[in-house]
């Protein structure tokens, strides 16, 4: 698997995939996409990078342990639900704070935070499984 072509392309491919996964995540509310699919794409990018360049460099690149990322995602998801409590509304009631940047309306909202949480959970959980399995290949 470690052909020179694959090894050269893999980092760019992985970077593009991560970028694409974020794009998919953010457009999810109105177009096909969302946190789940985005997370799966990002996890595949980690798997590809790991196969090409070794698990150690993936772990260096993502800084945190993938399971920690997953846990943080779960925390974000729950916290997004809790924000509604500050407005005396039930748990998981969506809150919207649209802002205008360069004349474009950007809808910040708790569903967005929640979706990012989903994304992180999926990346972390699937990514850590894939990495752990790849790691064992080189033992």
């Amino acid at each position: 698997m470690r052909t020179i072509i694959f090894r050269t392309i893999a980092p760019y491919l992985a970077a593009l995939m991560v970028l694409f996964s974020i794009f998919v995540l953010l457009r999810g509310h109105n177009e096909p996409g969302g946190g789940f699919i985005g997370g799966l794409i990002a996890a595949s990018s980690l798997a590809i990078y790991g196969i090409a360049c070794g698990v150690a460099s993936v772990r260096r690149a993502i800084v945190f342990h993938p399971m920690a990322i997953s846990g943080f995602g779960l925390f974000m998801g729950a916290a997004a639900g809790l924000l509604g409590l500050f407005y005396k509304q039930p748990f998981m009631t969506s809150q919207w704070w649209p802002i205008y940047l360069f004349g474009v309306e950007i809808k910040l909202s708790t569903p967005l935070i929640f979706d990012i949480g989903v994304y992180l959970v999926v990346v972390g959980a699937i990514g850590s499984i894939a990495l752990a399995l790849e790691e064992r290949e080189s033992d």
Binding site: I126, I129, A130, A132
Partner: protein
């Protein structure tokens, strides 16, 4: 029945019941500050509770009853409600009164123990539980406190948790009393369903409704199960002597005066509702009588002071059950009197035994003697208590014995058998009382492990007060009868009773003659104590088996059974698990269709376009490739081909989100499966015999066909558009999103998604843990299944 008044001090009564729990929270800190002297301020709590309930005595003596109610879970009719009548008042007074001295005694007995604060804490927890039990009016309240006494006694018996014997005794007590608790709960639920009443006070207002009810027998058996286990009736008596592993204050409090009487309390409480029937007057005296004899005979065999007392406690409980079972007014009066007397003298004697142990270093009666000069106060208390236990005048024990002989003599049935049982039991109790109170103190001074001397005030205050109380209660005959015994008897009988106690029998009657026989028999047996002990030991050794051994055998049997069952259902073979799972799936989709007889008709195929047909073809080719693949890796990749084709189908039929997810899941499944495959030391080819392959093939086809048929059946149902319309209408207007699938996921059904990502996160953790398992090579198959789960999960979305 007298009308029930609402307690004017509801709040204080509830606080009084809950006060021990607060004390339990404070005790460790106070003990850290003051050491063992914390016992003095802590004892104020039970003393205060005693004062509170003593305040009800005059009113209760005039046949008034009170109810204190606070809402707890009103939707289920469960209230925190307490019922104050003669029965509960006397019990509450005994618990708080004896409890006061137990706390003091524990201060002296556990002095310097590193965990003394914790010990106080447990004692208070138990005290609160016991108070709640005897006062509980709502059946569920009563049950909750009943269970609390089991749990707290587990903590107390296992207090010396470093000793294996303590742990065994604690677990044994918990298993026996906890099991009985379950029976009791079932019994209570039956009572509630049978009568529609959940408050004891309401049940007692109409006491005859249960006796003729169709559910009477099951209720009777279940309630008896709870009472007999708690009150250590034969054949459940074995846990109580084993519980003597606990420090002595525990034995004195739980296993003499309070907890073990909870069962008797329950029987007495239920007497107006369930008592007096033929079943009641047969079963209770039978078991009570057996327990009385077994308890006293086993007590004689022992040489350990605490164990001797423990077995006589078993015997006394048997006597109480027997008398409650006779059900005549005189017998009940005897039961009430004996219960009161027993709590006083047995509590005192246990504390005496503990003091001897504490000061002399042993409680083996054969190694003790001549302590009367060293411990005069303790000796005096022991004598007073033992005289009461022996049933000699002028002590409350004597009055109790007279009345109970009167009760058995005049019993409606089997009077002779009951009387003989009672006489023999009481004679043996006299033997034990003498052995406990006289043997260690009289005779030649024996060298003991510690140089014995009188214990401190903390240690002797309890035995002295309790044993003197036994004398005072007997001398103040009229007051005792009017204020304590009469009201309690009224609760048992169900209508107001007047009790006139006499200390000196006015003329020679049957009970007096029986008393004389008892004393003569007892003294005669005492002189032959050693020979008697050897005789009983010989007989028991010859039998060699008892319920205590039986308990161990049952537990060992349970462990073996669960081990065998676990090995059966979790053999550790992945193939078996998967096969079982899929067989169940196939059955669950096929059987209902078969039984319902409704296989769906084949739907009409619409006109598919050429490229649609070619995608279907790719999927089929992928499947065929899986089947004919030579190596496993090829099979996995071929399965991927089929998956991608399905993704394309989703795409063509306007489900882009689904297609997208399917594509990613397929990719990841193939990658992960391939990784797992290369790690497993599997042969590259599947070399199972034809038969096995055929079996899995049949199951696979079953699952596939079943799912397909189910899907066809579902699509033939008229499509309910309400949800679709709702989401189409509100997706943008309420949730500002045009992608309905995503809006449902993150907004409308956000909590579902939250649960699902929690599952994904946890699955990741578990899989990681499984991959890391290295020491057990036979576990290596499992990551495959685990790795599949998130992917399968995602597929489901």
């Amino acid at each position: 029945m007298t009308p029930v008044a609402i307690d004017s001090n509801t709040l204080i009564t509830i606080l009084a019941v809950l006060a021990p729990f607060f004390a339990a929270a404070v005790a460790p800190f106070l003990t850290r500050l003051m050491g063992h002297n914390a016992a003095w301020p802590l004892a104020i709590v039970p003393a205060g509770i005693f004062m509170h309930f003593a305040g009800y005595v005059p009113a209760v003596a005039e046949a008034q009853t009170f109810v204190a109610i606070r809402d707890w879970a009103p939707a289920y009719g469960i209230n925190l409600s307490f019922y104050i009548d003669g029965l509960s008042t006397l019990f509450a007074l005994l618990i708080s009164g004896i409890g006061t001295f137990i706390i003091l005694y524990a201060g002296g007995y556990m002095k310097g123990h590193a965990q003394q604060g914790r010990f106080f804490s447990f004692l208070f927890l138990f005290m609160g539980a016991m108070l709640g039990l005897v006062l509980g009016n709502n059946l569920i309240t009563l049950f909750v406190f009943w269970e609390l006494t089991s749990i707290t006694s587990f903590l107390l018996i296992g207090f010396n948790h470093l000793k294996e014997r303590s742990r065994r005794a604690a677990v044994q007590a918990l298993v026996v009393t906890g099991g009985g608790g379950l029976l009791l709960l079932a019994g209570f639920i039956l009572i509630i369903t049978a009568t529609g009443q959940i408050e004891m006070s309401a049940l007692l207002r109409d006491p005859d409704v249960l006796k003729d009810h169709a559910l009477y027998v099951p209720i009777f058996i279940l309630i008896l199960g709870g009472a007999f286990t708690k009150s250590a009736q034969f054949p459940f008596h074995f846990w109580l002597p084993n519980a003597m592993e606990a420090p002595t204050p525990v034995s004195a409090f739980l296993h003499s005066a309070t907890m073990v009487k909870a069962g008797v309390y329950l029987l007495m409480r239920m007497h107006p509702l369930l008592g007096g029937t033929e079943l009641w007057t047969t079963v209770l005296p039978l078991f009570g009588g057996i327990t009385l004899l077994v308890g006293t005979i086993l007590a004689v065999r022992q040489t350990d002071l605490k164990l001797m007392l423990a077995y006589t406690t078993v015997a006394s409980l048997g006597l109480l059950v027997m008398l409650t079972g006779v059900s005549s007014e005189r017998a009940l009066e005897g039961a009430v009197l004996y219960l009161f007397a027993h709590s006083l003298f047995k509590g005192a004697l246990f504390m005496v035994a503990g003091t001897i142990d504490h000061e002399a270093g042993t409680r083996d009666v054969t190694k003790l003697g001549g302590l009367r000069k060293a411990m005069p106060v303790t000796f005096a208390a022991a004598c007073l208590a033992a005289l009461s236990m022996s049933g000699l005048p002028p002590f409350i024990g004597f009055i109790a014995k007279e009345v109970l002989y009167y009760g058995t003599w005049g019993a409606p049935a089997a009077a002779m058998a009951l009387t003989v049982t009672a006489v023999v039991g009481n004679a043996l109790m006299l033997v034990i009382a003498a052995a406990v109170a006289l043997k260690p103190f009289l005779g030649e001074k024996v060298k003991t492990p510690k140089e014995a001397h009188e214990g401190p005030l903390l240690l002797f205050s309890g035995p002295v007060v309790l044993s003197v109380a036994g004398l005072v209660a007997a001398l103040a005959t009229t007051a005792t009868g009017f204020y304590l015994i009469g009201p309690m008897l009224s609760s048992l009988v169900g209508e107001p009773q007047e009790v006139k106690l006499v200390l000196i029998p006015p003329y020679i009657n049957a009970p007096l003659i029986l008393s004389v026989i008892t004393i003569a028999l007892g003294v005669a047996l005492y002189t032959q104590l050693d020979r008697l002990r050897a005789l009983i030991k010989g007989v028991l050794d010859a039998i060699g088996w008892g319920p205590d051994k039986g308990f161990d055998q049952v537990i060992a049997g349970l462990v073996t059974l669960s081990g065998a069952f676990t090995r059966l259902v979790q053999g550790g073979k992945m193939q078996t698990y998967m096969l079982a799972t899929f067989v169940v799936i196939a059955a669950s989709v096929l059987v209902p269709g078969y039984l319902g007889g409704g296989w769906p008709a084949m739907p009409d195929f619409p006109e598919y376009r050429f490229y649609e047909w070619s995608v279907f073809l790719i999927a089929v080719i992928g499947l065929i490739a899986v089947l004919i693949a030579k190596s496993r890796l090829t099979a996995i990749v071929s399965l991927g081909i089929q998956g991608f084709a399905v993704a394309l189908i989703f795409m063509m039929f306007a489900a882009p989100d689904l297609a997208f997810t399917q594509l990613m899941v397929e990719t990841l499944s193939v990658v992960i499966l391939a990784l797992v495959m290369t790690r497993l030391n599997l042969q590259p080819r599947d070399r199972r015999p034809w038969g096995a392959a055929l079996a899995t093939g049949v199951v696979s086809i079953g699952v596939g066909a079943g799912l397909a048929l189910t899907l066809i059946a579902i699509t033939q149902q008229p499509f309910d558009l309400r949800l679709s319309e709702f989401f189409t209408e509100y997706s943008y207007s309420l949730a500002f999103g045009r992608n309905i699938v995503n809006v449902i996921l993150v907004d409308f059904r956000g909590i579902d998604t939250l649960g699902e990502i929690a599952v994904v996160c946890l699955t990741g953790l578990c899989v990681l843990a499984l991959i890391r398992v290295r020491t057990r090579p036979d576990k290596e198959e499992e990551p495959e299944a685990g790795a599949d789960t998130p992917a399968k999960k995602a597929e489901a979305r």
